[in-house]
Protein backbone atom coordinates (compact mmCIF):
# COMPACT_ATOMS: atom_id res chain seq x y z
CA UNK A 1 0.00 0.00 0.00
CA UNK A 2 2.36 2.70 1.25
CA UNK A 3 5.37 0.61 0.31
CA UNK A 4 8.60 0.73 2.25
CA UNK A 5 9.34 4.24 3.49
CA UNK A 6 12.58 5.16 5.25
CA UNK A 7 13.48 8.66 6.41
CA UNK A 8 17.20 9.25 6.77
CA UNK A 9 17.33 12.29 9.03
CA UNK A 10 18.93 14.06 11.98
CA UNK A 11 16.88 15.05 15.03
CA UNK A 12 17.68 18.77 14.90
CA UNK A 13 17.45 19.16 11.12
CA UNK A 14 14.75 21.66 10.22
CA UNK A 15 14.68 20.11 6.76
CA UNK A 16 14.09 16.65 8.19
CA UNK A 17 11.31 18.07 10.36
CA UNK A 18 9.50 19.18 7.21
CA UNK A 19 9.30 15.57 6.04
CA UNK A 20 8.37 14.22 9.47
CA UNK A 21 5.44 16.67 9.53
CA UNK A 22 4.33 15.77 5.99
CA UNK A 23 4.50 12.01 6.58
CA UNK A 24 2.51 12.46 9.81
CA UNK A 25 -0.08 14.64 8.05
CA UNK A 26 -0.54 11.86 5.48
CA UNK A 27 -0.57 9.06 8.07
CA UNK A 28 2.31 7.24 6.36
CA UNK A 29 4.12 4.52 8.33
CA UNK A 30 7.86 4.84 7.97
CA UNK A 31 11.17 3.82 9.49
CA UNK A 32 13.15 6.68 10.99
CA UNK A 33 16.94 6.44 10.78
CA UNK A 34 19.07 8.93 12.65
CA UNK A 35 22.34 10.23 11.26
CA UNK A 36 24.82 11.18 13.94
CA UNK A 37 25.78 14.57 12.47
CA UNK A 38 28.28 16.06 11.89
CA UNK A 39 29.61 12.52 11.27
CA UNK A 40 28.06 11.03 8.15
CA UNK A 41 27.40 7.33 7.57
CA UNK A 42 28.34 5.30 4.46
CA UNK A 43 24.61 4.76 3.97
CA UNK A 44 24.04 8.52 3.68
CA UNK A 45 26.87 8.81 1.13
CA UNK A 46 25.26 5.99 -0.80
CA UNK A 47 21.75 7.49 -0.71
CA UNK A 48 22.83 11.09 -1.38
CA UNK A 49 26.20 10.87 -3.14
CA UNK A 50 25.96 14.35 -4.66
CA UNK A 51 25.08 16.53 -1.67
CA UNK A 52 25.76 14.07 1.19
CA UNK A 53 23.04 15.71 3.28
CA UNK A 54 19.95 14.79 5.26
CA UNK A 55 17.08 14.37 4.94
CA UNK A 56 16.74 11.63 2.36
CA UNK A 57 13.37 10.02 1.81
CA UNK A 58 13.75 6.46 0.56
CA UNK A 59 10.57 5.02 -0.96
CA UNK A 60 10.71 1.39 -2.07
CA UNK A 61 14.49 1.66 -2.25
CA UNK A 62 14.53 4.85 -4.33
CA UNK A 63 16.08 7.90 -2.65
CA UNK A 64 14.63 11.40 -2.98
CA UNK A 65 16.94 14.19 -1.80
CA UNK A 66 16.35 17.90 -1.09
CA UNK A 67 13.57 18.51 1.44
CA UNK A 68 11.28 20.64 -0.76
CA UNK A 69 11.53 18.09 -3.56
CA UNK A 70 10.78 15.24 -1.15
CA UNK A 71 7.91 17.30 0.33
CA UNK A 72 6.31 17.64 -3.10
CA UNK A 73 6.91 13.94 -3.72
CA UNK A 74 5.11 13.01 -0.48
CA UNK A 75 2.23 15.33 -1.43
CA UNK A 76 1.94 13.80 -4.90
CA UNK A 77 2.19 10.13 -3.88
CA UNK A 78 -0.16 10.43 -0.89
CA UNK A 79 -2.39 12.99 -2.53
CA UNK A 80 -5.63 11.74 -1.02
CA UNK A 81 -5.01 12.87 2.52
CA UNK A 82 -4.40 16.43 3.77
CA UNK A 83 -3.08 17.92 0.50
CA UNK A 84 -0.26 20.37 1.22
CA UNK A 85 0.00 22.18 -2.10
CA UNK A 86 -3.15 23.83 -3.48
CA UNK A 87 -4.59 22.53 -6.76
CA UNK A 88 -4.65 25.91 -8.52
CA UNK A 89 -1.44 26.41 -10.58
CA UNK A 90 -1.07 30.09 -9.62
CA UNK A 91 -1.44 29.36 -5.90
CA UNK A 92 1.01 26.46 -6.27
CA UNK A 93 3.54 28.80 -7.88
CA UNK A 94 3.17 31.29 -5.01
CA UNK A 95 3.61 28.49 -2.45
CA UNK A 96 6.80 27.30 -4.17
CA UNK A 97 8.19 30.84 -4.27
CA UNK A 98 7.57 31.39 -0.58
CA UNK A 99 9.10 28.03 0.36
CA UNK A 100 12.13 29.08 -1.68
CA UNK A 101 12.19 32.39 0.22
CA UNK A 102 12.34 30.42 3.47
CA UNK A 103 15.39 28.52 2.20
CA UNK A 104 17.13 31.56 0.76
CA UNK A 105 16.48 33.93 3.65
CA UNK A 106 15.38 32.33 6.92
CA UNK A 107 17.78 29.41 6.69
CA UNK A 108 20.84 31.21 5.41
CA UNK A 109 20.46 34.20 7.73
CA UNK A 110 19.71 31.92 10.66
CA UNK A 111 22.91 30.03 10.02
CA UNK A 112 24.88 33.27 9.99
CA UNK A 113 23.38 34.23 13.35
CA UNK A 114 24.92 31.22 15.08
CA UNK A 115 28.09 30.96 13.04
CA UNK A 116 29.18 34.58 12.50
CA UNK A 117 30.48 37.25 14.85
CA UNK A 118 30.61 41.01 15.15
CA UNK A 119 29.27 43.07 12.26
CA UNK A 120 28.41 40.08 10.12
CA UNK A 121 26.27 38.65 12.91
CA UNK A 122 24.58 41.99 13.57
CA UNK A 123 23.72 42.36 9.89
CA UNK A 124 22.35 38.81 9.81
CA UNK A 125 20.15 39.46 12.87
CA UNK A 126 18.71 42.59 11.31
CA UNK A 127 18.02 40.91 7.95
CA UNK A 128 16.57 37.86 9.68
CA UNK A 129 13.95 39.99 11.46
CA UNK A 130 13.23 41.78 8.17
CA UNK A 131 12.66 38.44 6.47
CA UNK A 132 10.25 37.36 9.21
CA UNK A 133 8.39 40.64 8.81
CA UNK A 134 8.07 40.03 5.06
CA UNK A 135 6.60 36.62 5.90
CA UNK A 136 4.25 38.25 8.43
CA UNK A 137 3.11 40.55 5.64
CA UNK A 138 2.46 37.62 3.35
CA UNK A 139 0.54 35.80 6.09
CA UNK A 140 -1.66 38.83 6.74
CA UNK A 141 -4.82 37.91 8.62
CA UNK A 142 -4.92 34.35 7.32
CA UNK A 143 -4.54 31.50 9.84
CA UNK A 144 -2.00 29.75 7.60
CA UNK A 145 0.09 30.80 4.61
CA UNK A 146 -2.14 28.87 2.21
CA UNK A 147 -5.32 30.31 3.71
CA UNK A 148 -7.69 28.34 5.93
CA UNK A 149 -5.74 25.10 5.71
CA UNK A 150 -2.29 24.17 6.97
CA UNK A 151 -0.14 23.67 3.89
CA UNK A 152 3.15 23.58 2.03
CA UNK A 153 4.63 26.91 3.14
CA UNK A 154 3.62 26.31 6.76
CA UNK A 155 5.40 22.92 6.66
CA UNK A 156 8.47 24.50 5.04
CA UNK A 157 8.70 27.27 7.63
CA UNK A 158 7.51 25.95 11.02
CA UNK A 159 10.62 23.81 11.74
CA UNK A 160 12.70 26.99 12.00
CA UNK A 161 10.64 27.94 15.07
CA UNK A 162 12.41 25.17 16.97
CA UNK A 163 15.69 26.92 16.15
CA UNK A 164 14.63 30.32 17.52
CA UNK A 165 15.97 29.59 21.00
CA UNK A 166 19.38 28.73 19.51
CA UNK A 167 19.35 31.85 17.31
CA UNK A 168 18.33 34.04 20.26
CA UNK A 169 20.98 32.62 22.55
CA UNK A 170 23.80 32.79 19.99
CA UNK A 171 22.71 36.20 18.76
CA UNK A 172 21.79 37.61 22.16
CA UNK A 173 18.47 39.03 20.97
CA UNK A 174 14.76 38.32 21.13
CA UNK A 175 12.80 37.35 18.06
CA UNK A 176 9.28 36.94 19.46
CA UNK A 177 8.91 40.51 20.69
CA UNK A 178 9.80 41.84 17.24
CA UNK A 179 7.60 39.38 15.32
CA UNK A 180 4.49 38.68 17.42
CA UNK A 181 2.35 37.73 14.42
CA UNK A 182 4.90 35.14 13.42
CA UNK A 183 4.90 33.65 16.91
CA UNK A 184 1.08 33.55 16.94
CA UNK A 185 1.14 31.64 13.65
CA UNK A 186 3.84 29.28 14.96
CA UNK A 187 1.84 28.49 18.11
CA UNK A 188 -1.20 27.79 15.94
CA UNK A 189 0.85 25.31 13.91
CA UNK A 190 2.21 23.71 17.10
CA UNK A 191 -1.36 22.77 18.03
CA UNK A 192 -1.29 20.24 15.21
CA UNK A 193 -0.05 16.86 16.40
CA UNK A 194 1.99 16.35 13.23
CA UNK A 195 3.96 19.50 14.10
CA UNK A 196 4.31 19.13 17.86
CA UNK A 197 5.51 15.54 17.48
CA UNK A 198 7.94 16.38 14.66
CA UNK A 199 9.66 19.50 15.92
CA UNK A 200 12.86 19.08 17.89
CA UNK A 201 13.11 20.33 21.45
CA UNK A 202 14.63 23.84 21.30
CA UNK A 203 17.14 23.04 24.07
CA UNK A 204 18.35 20.01 22.16
CA UNK A 205 18.62 22.13 19.01
CA UNK A 206 20.82 24.57 20.95
CA UNK A 207 23.00 21.67 22.17
CA UNK A 208 23.35 20.56 18.56
CA UNK A 209 24.34 24.08 17.49
CA UNK A 210 27.09 24.03 20.14
CA UNK A 211 28.38 20.77 18.64
CA UNK A 212 28.33 22.36 15.17
CA UNK A 213 30.14 25.44 16.41
CA UNK A 214 32.88 23.26 17.84
CA UNK A 215 33.04 21.18 14.68
CA UNK A 216 33.39 24.21 12.43
CA UNK A 217 35.71 26.01 14.81
CA UNK A 218 33.33 28.88 15.55
CA UNK A 219 33.48 30.45 18.98
Amino acid sequence: MDGEVILLDAYASMFGMRLRIALAEKGVKYEYREENLPKKSPFLFQMNPIHKKVPVLIHNGKPICESLIALQYIDEVWHDKNPLLPSDPYKRAQARLWADFVDQKVHILGRKIWSAKGEEQEAAKKEFIEALKVLEGELGEKPYFGGEEFGYVDVALIPFYSWFHAYETCGNFKIGTQCPKFVAWAKRCMQRESVSKSLADPEKVYDFVLILKKHFGVE
Binding site: P89, Y90, R92, L97, F101
Partner: protein, 224 residues
Protein backbone atom coordinates in the same frame (compact mmCIF):
# COMPACT_ATOMS: atom_id res chain seq x y z
CA UNK B 1 -12.23 35.11 -23.26
CA UNK B 2 -8.76 35.60 -24.72
CA UNK B 3 -5.96 34.96 -22.29
CA UNK B 4 -3.31 37.58 -21.79
CA UNK B 5 0.21 36.25 -21.38
CA UNK B 6 3.19 38.58 -21.01
CA UNK B 7 6.82 37.69 -20.48
CA UNK B 8 9.23 40.23 -19.01
CA UNK B 9 12.75 39.28 -19.99
CA UNK B 10 16.15 40.40 -21.21
CA UNK B 11 17.45 39.49 -24.69
CA UNK B 12 20.28 37.33 -23.35
CA UNK B 13 18.95 35.57 -20.26
CA UNK B 14 19.13 31.80 -20.33
CA UNK B 15 16.52 31.70 -17.56
CA UNK B 16 14.05 33.59 -19.75
CA UNK B 17 14.78 31.32 -22.72
CA UNK B 18 13.39 28.43 -20.69
CA UNK B 19 10.02 30.16 -20.64
CA UNK B 20 10.16 31.23 -24.29
CA UNK B 21 10.75 27.60 -25.25
CA UNK B 22 8.03 26.30 -22.95
CA UNK B 23 5.43 28.73 -24.28
CA UNK B 24 6.39 28.04 -27.90
CA UNK B 25 6.43 24.25 -27.40
CA UNK B 26 2.88 24.54 -26.09
CA UNK B 27 1.84 26.99 -28.81
CA UNK B 28 0.88 29.72 -26.33
CA UNK B 29 0.56 33.25 -27.71
CA UNK B 30 2.34 35.81 -25.58
CA UNK B 31 3.74 39.32 -25.58
CA UNK B 32 7.42 39.96 -24.83
CA UNK B 33 8.54 42.98 -22.83
CA UNK B 34 12.30 43.41 -23.01
CA UNK B 35 13.79 44.92 -19.87
CA UNK B 36 16.95 46.90 -19.37
CA UNK B 37 18.08 45.77 -15.93
CA UNK B 38 19.94 49.02 -15.32
CA UNK B 39 16.67 50.87 -15.81
CA UNK B 40 13.81 48.63 -14.73
CA UNK B 41 10.32 49.48 -15.83
CA UNK B 42 7.65 50.38 -13.22
CA UNK B 43 5.65 47.35 -14.46
CA UNK B 44 8.47 44.95 -13.66
CA UNK B 45 8.95 46.40 -10.18
CA UNK B 46 5.23 46.16 -9.62
CA UNK B 47 5.15 42.48 -10.64
CA UNK B 48 8.34 41.40 -8.90
CA UNK B 49 8.70 43.76 -5.93
CA UNK B 50 10.86 41.47 -3.82
CA UNK B 51 13.66 40.78 -6.25
CA UNK B 52 12.95 42.93 -9.34
CA UNK B 53 14.42 40.13 -11.42
CA UNK B 54 13.49 38.71 -14.78
CA UNK B 55 11.96 36.61 -16.16
CA UNK B 56 8.46 37.28 -14.90
CA UNK B 57 5.44 35.66 -16.52
CA UNK B 58 2.21 37.62 -16.14
CA UNK B 59 -0.89 35.57 -16.91
CA UNK B 60 -4.15 37.53 -16.91
CA UNK B 61 -2.53 40.13 -14.66
CA UNK B 62 -1.08 37.62 -12.18
CA UNK B 63 2.73 37.49 -11.96
CA UNK B 64 4.83 34.35 -11.54
CA UNK B 65 8.57 34.69 -10.85
CA UNK B 66 11.62 32.38 -10.82
CA UNK B 67 12.12 30.50 -14.07
CA UNK B 68 11.84 26.94 -12.71
CA UNK B 69 8.66 27.87 -10.83
CA UNK B 70 7.33 29.50 -14.02
CA UNK B 71 8.12 26.33 -15.99
CA UNK B 72 6.01 24.24 -13.62
CA UNK B 73 3.25 26.88 -13.73
CA UNK B 74 3.20 26.79 -17.53
CA UNK B 75 3.16 22.98 -17.50
CA UNK B 76 0.30 22.84 -14.97
CA UNK B 77 -1.78 25.55 -16.65
CA UNK B 78 -1.48 24.34 -20.26
CA UNK B 79 -1.47 20.58 -19.84
CA UNK B 80 -0.95 19.53 -23.48
CA UNK B 81 2.60 18.63 -24.60
CA UNK B 82 3.67 17.97 -21.00
CA UNK B 83 7.20 19.03 -20.08
CA UNK B 84 7.57 17.24 -16.74
CA UNK B 85 7.22 13.47 -16.33
CA UNK B 86 3.94 12.25 -14.81
CA UNK B 87 5.48 9.75 -12.41
CA UNK B 88 6.19 11.38 -9.01
CA UNK B 89 9.65 9.81 -8.69
CA UNK B 90 10.71 10.82 -12.20
CA UNK B 91 9.34 14.29 -11.53
CA UNK B 92 11.40 14.50 -8.33
CA UNK B 93 14.54 13.49 -10.24
CA UNK B 94 13.84 16.17 -12.85
CA UNK B 95 13.48 18.82 -10.14
CA UNK B 96 16.64 17.58 -8.41
CA UNK B 97 18.76 17.82 -11.57
CA UNK B 98 17.33 21.20 -12.50
CA UNK B 99 18.38 22.48 -9.07
CA UNK B 100 21.79 20.87 -9.51
CA UNK B 101 22.16 22.60 -12.86
CA UNK B 102 21.44 26.01 -11.35
CA UNK B 103 23.14 25.61 -7.97
CA UNK B 104 26.22 23.53 -8.69
CA UNK B 105 26.89 23.29 -12.42
CA UNK B 106 26.22 26.92 -13.32
CA UNK B 107 28.27 28.22 -10.40
CA UNK B 108 31.25 26.01 -11.20
CA UNK B 109 31.15 26.85 -14.93
CA UNK B 110 30.97 30.54 -14.06
CA UNK B 111 33.90 30.26 -11.63
CA UNK B 112 35.95 28.71 -14.43
CA UNK B 113 34.84 31.42 -16.85
CA UNK B 114 35.98 34.28 -14.61
CA UNK B 115 39.09 32.54 -13.25
CA UNK B 116 42.48 34.11 -13.80
CA UNK B 117 44.76 31.96 -15.92
CA UNK B 118 46.69 30.67 -12.94
CA UNK B 119 43.44 29.63 -11.20
CA UNK B 120 41.83 27.95 -14.21
CA UNK B 121 43.12 24.45 -13.53
CA UNK B 122 41.65 24.42 -10.03
CA UNK B 123 38.34 25.92 -11.19
CA UNK B 124 38.17 23.34 -13.99
CA UNK B 125 38.28 20.42 -11.51
CA UNK B 126 34.88 21.17 -9.98
CA UNK B 127 33.33 22.10 -13.33
CA UNK B 128 34.48 18.81 -14.85
CA UNK B 129 33.24 16.78 -11.88
CA UNK B 130 29.80 18.36 -12.26
CA UNK B 131 29.85 17.76 -16.00
CA UNK B 132 30.59 14.08 -15.39
CA UNK B 133 27.47 13.81 -13.22
CA UNK B 134 25.33 15.35 -15.97
CA UNK B 135 26.99 13.07 -18.55
CA UNK B 136 25.81 10.07 -16.47
CA UNK B 137 22.24 11.30 -16.62
CA UNK B 138 22.25 11.34 -20.40
CA UNK B 139 23.47 7.76 -20.94
CA UNK B 140 21.17 5.89 -23.32
CA UNK B 141 19.02 8.96 -23.94
CA UNK B 142 18.72 11.49 -26.73
CA UNK B 143 17.25 14.13 -24.42
CA UNK B 144 17.06 14.12 -20.62
CA UNK B 145 13.60 12.53 -20.56
CA UNK B 146 14.03 10.28 -23.59
CA UNK B 147 13.15 10.93 -27.19
CA UNK B 148 11.52 14.35 -26.86
CA UNK B 149 12.53 17.70 -25.37
CA UNK B 150 11.22 18.27 -21.85
CA UNK B 151 11.68 20.19 -18.60
CA UNK B 152 15.28 19.21 -17.92
CA UNK B 153 16.40 20.01 -21.45
CA UNK B 154 14.91 23.48 -21.06
CA UNK B 155 16.51 23.80 -17.62
CA UNK B 156 19.94 22.92 -19.05
CA UNK B 157 19.36 24.82 -22.29
CA UNK B 158 21.50 27.79 -21.18
CA UNK B 159 24.40 25.35 -20.96
CA UNK B 160 24.07 24.14 -24.55
CA UNK B 161 24.66 27.70 -25.74
CA UNK B 162 27.06 28.98 -23.10
CA UNK B 163 29.56 26.13 -23.46
CA UNK B 164 30.50 27.12 -27.01
CA UNK B 165 30.64 30.81 -26.02
CA UNK B 166 32.96 30.03 -23.11
CA UNK B 167 35.11 27.77 -25.30
CA UNK B 168 35.49 30.46 -27.96
CA UNK B 169 36.29 33.28 -25.52
CA UNK B 170 38.69 31.21 -23.42
CA UNK B 171 40.16 29.24 -26.32
CA UNK B 172 39.72 25.95 -24.54
CA UNK B 173 37.67 22.80 -25.08
CA UNK B 174 35.47 22.07 -22.08
CA UNK B 175 33.00 19.52 -23.43
CA UNK B 176 35.02 17.35 -25.77
CA UNK B 177 33.37 14.44 -27.57
CA UNK B 178 35.76 11.87 -26.16
CA UNK B 179 35.36 12.68 -22.49
CA UNK B 180 31.71 13.66 -22.71
CA UNK B 181 30.14 11.78 -25.64
CA UNK B 182 26.57 11.91 -24.30
CA UNK B 183 26.71 15.55 -23.29
CA UNK B 184 28.24 16.52 -26.67
CA UNK B 185 25.56 14.59 -28.45
CA UNK B 186 22.81 16.19 -26.34
CA UNK B 187 24.15 19.66 -27.10
CA UNK B 188 24.05 18.96 -30.85
CA UNK B 189 20.52 17.55 -30.70
CA UNK B 190 19.19 20.29 -28.48
CA UNK B 191 20.68 23.25 -30.34
CA UNK B 192 19.02 22.08 -33.54
CA UNK B 193 15.74 20.80 -32.13
CA UNK B 194 12.51 22.24 -33.60
CA UNK B 195 11.31 25.37 -31.78
CA UNK B 196 14.50 25.45 -29.70
CA UNK B 197 16.67 26.43 -32.65
CA UNK B 198 14.50 29.46 -33.50
CA UNK B 199 14.99 31.18 -30.16
CA UNK B 200 18.73 31.45 -29.56
CA UNK B 201 19.90 35.02 -28.94
CA UNK B 202 22.32 36.39 -31.58
CA UNK B 203 25.67 34.69 -31.04
CA UNK B 204 27.85 37.66 -31.97
CA UNK B 205 26.06 39.83 -29.41
CA UNK B 206 26.44 37.08 -26.79
CA UNK B 207 30.18 36.75 -27.47
CA UNK B 208 30.68 40.49 -27.05
CA UNK B 209 28.53 40.65 -23.92
CA UNK B 210 30.32 37.81 -22.16
CA UNK B 211 33.75 38.89 -23.33
CA UNK B 212 33.18 42.31 -21.76
CA UNK B 213 31.80 40.73 -18.60
CA UNK B 214 34.84 38.46 -18.29
CA UNK B 215 37.26 41.32 -18.85
CA UNK B 216 35.53 43.32 -16.12
CA UNK B 217 35.75 40.44 -13.66
CA UNK B 218 39.43 39.81 -14.46
CA UNK B 219 40.24 43.50 -14.14
CA UNK B 220 38.48 43.71 -10.78
CA UNK B 221 40.33 40.62 -9.55
CA UNK B 222 43.78 41.88 -10.55
CA UNK B 223 45.65 43.33 -7.56
CA UNK B 224 46.71 46.93 -8.17
Amino acid sequence: MAEEVKLFRTWSSGYALRIVWALKLKGIEYETIFEDLTNKSPSLLQYNPIHGKVPVLVHDGKPVCESLVILEYVDETWKHNPLLPQDPYEKSMARFWANFGDDKLMKSIWQLFIAREKDQDVAAVEALENLKLVEEQLKGKKFFHGETVGYLDLAFGWFADFVSILEEIMSLKLVDGERFPHLSSWIQHFIDAPVIRDCWPPRDKMIIKFQVMRENYLAAATPK
